[in-house]
Symmetry: C4
Subunit: 222 residues, 4 copies
């Protein structure tokens, strides 16, 4: 009875196991699958004059190498976000309409991601590529934090997090956003240095953040 | 026994929880996911002569701004229709073949929507863009009303709506259709005025329609 | 125990309710969704010199009318096949690997269908368009018959069909294939006549085939 | 209780029947569906001057024959991998994060496959086409072996395989990889001979590998 109704004025909730919970995941997986494979469309079949010449086709493939690398980087980055999405959503017992709406904002920037990734692959020496990519990735990572907050605050999690675990989780999710934003001025000095700065996020997490990890964090965040 | 058979001559029904009910949602979510992401394909990688020039790439991005804005508007509009679809279908206990067929008509105009949205983004000053968009959106919103009627009339809802709640629901869903259609002559005078007229639908709902809202509406329509 | 094992040498079976049964439907729905929306990609944004001229944009839209009509015809035809697929598969209690493989052959021709549909929309006066379309549609409809036979012969149906109902079902499914194939020579005399001949399939079913309909057919085929 | 928690430090596991298990399949099916249908996008509508000329349209279709054949070969190859994926995953009782990650690597090369297939269809006489295709297909088949190993070693299978059945399974899955890799030097002598060499994998399995098939293999591998 309780599950079938929602208190007057409250946002409707979709319980884990309902069709509505499932289809939010189906739509998300559809957007992820399209975004992952999208850049393969841009790898045009090479045209060569002597169709049986190995060296001509090898040269033509070489010209396509940036597009091919872009495809695999884009796939890897979006696949990484997908696994984070799967892990985060595995903690949910239900969704409410607000959470579903925030997930759609998140998906818009996942769907857009192949574009800046392709720019990055083709104009790696250009600071604008770095900045565009960093902004897009900051928004995606930032939306992960927003979804995490909403899940905790609106009682959507299967097991509510203790306050210290929750705060540490927000901190860990926010750190990459900070690194991406701080890298943007660096990009105008050196694009390599900016990308190097992104990679500092990993040792920062291992050496600094993990020191303050609450003892129960592994149990709750898996 | 009852659920496994359908009375002779009646349309076959697919109960919530069956594979057939689920796959109608899966197909719908697939069409929504493709429609949402489609306009990203049209944002071509900019080509610039000096590949490391920040100002050249910024200019090239600027030229793409209309396509980028079109993508996000299109995503937002279709995402909004998707949440309405999820909410409406969450009220269903079953579907019949007629309802499934009407949903396919609805999906055809969802799949088509990126085209007029892209026209609107690129030719905002052109009344034909406004009219094309308004017609497409009227049909989508109109089909929502048709689906709602069918669900109530064919006994597909988990809880049948009281007649006053149903009538109010039809009225609320029909109102945006009216605003879109009435805006089309205005577009030939001023495209900004036509879009402004669309936005009047919201205060109209809050100030006029909500006054006549039946007391049980929230409980039934969520 | 029975459900978890399959007799040695027999093809593996996937029962309704298993993940494997569901994902055959998910893959099918994915292919259908992509095929349905594919032709929208081909409707390029019109380019006009005076961006605010209503008559220019109307002319440009007029030039696109064949592509737009092709999109809606393609959507409608594939949507029709999808509903037939949903109805046919709703009769299954399980699938075996042979059935899954036949379904993939069927899906290949569904995925290809937008191409001949687009040819038909753009070269309606050309007999080769009619022939290409008729061949593709014959194969799709023919595969429906093959799937229907497999389901009955391999014991995949929830309720095995009485022999007379099964035979009548095969006859009804084969009839459109015959009409499509017989239309191909007519196309070289008149493409309109060939399409008119397709439409004869409907009265043929109502006036000739339905006369021999076994009394239990409605109960079994829904 | 056990199912809801995972031992500290271990990778999170997703049990069959959970939303997380299902959505790994949904994402996979989405990527497969897109990869299968992708090459249809490349079959451009032919443009002919005399739109009602049967011989002109036939000529134009003839020019497209390589693209059309590529589409059907690509569909068939990816469909074959999909059925193998469905069979392999039907043996799983659960997935862990490592397995989910490996599946994503596998999917990246499924998503990329239409590109080398299209090269093969259009430059069949070119050894680079053969080599590119053979490398891609080796990686996909190799990842199947890696997934199979992970499933057995991490205890993800519904019924753990006896050691001899497992080893024979690895051998059978690795054999095609060997044939593809060994074919690459042959391609520089004759592309036909290289493709002929691929086809030897089948009699090799039937005549050599099946001789060493453990008696319980059919029962476990289906």
């Amino acid at each position: 009875m309780e599950a079938a109704r929602t208190p007057k004025g409250a946002l409707k909730r979709y319980e884990r196991g309902s069709e509505e919970f499932s289809r939010t995941l189906t739509l998300s997986d559809g957007v992820f699958a399209i975004a992952m494979t999208l850049l393969v469309v841009g790898i045009a079949l090479p045209t060569i004059s002597d169709s049986s010449s190995a060296s001509d086709l090898l040269d033509a493939l070489n010209d396509l190498s940036e597009s091919i690398i872009s495809f695999f980087i884009s796939f890897a980055v979006i696949a990484r976000y997908w696994t984070a999405h799967q892990e985060q959503f595995s903690m949910l017992a239900r969704m409410d309409r607000g959470f579903v709406g925030l997930n759609l904002v998140y998906l818009a920037f996942i769907a857009f991601l192949p574009f800046p990734t392709d720019m990055l692959g083709n104009y790696f020496q250009n600071p604008i590529s770095i900045v565009t990519y960093a902004i897009n990735v900051s928004i995606v990572s930032g939306m992960e934090v927003v979804l995490f907050r909403r899940a905790q605050r609106a009682g959507l999690l299967a097991r509510e997090l203790p306050e210290d675990v929750y705060r540490w989780g927000v901190l860990v999710s926010t750190a990459p956003v900070a690194f991406f934003i701080l890298s943007t001025p660096i990009a105008f000095l050196s694009t390599e240095a900016a990308v190097g700065f992104w990679l500092l996020a990993l040792p920062f997490q291992l050496l600094v953040l993990n020191r303050h990890k609450p003892p129960q964090a592994d149990e709750y965040l898996g």
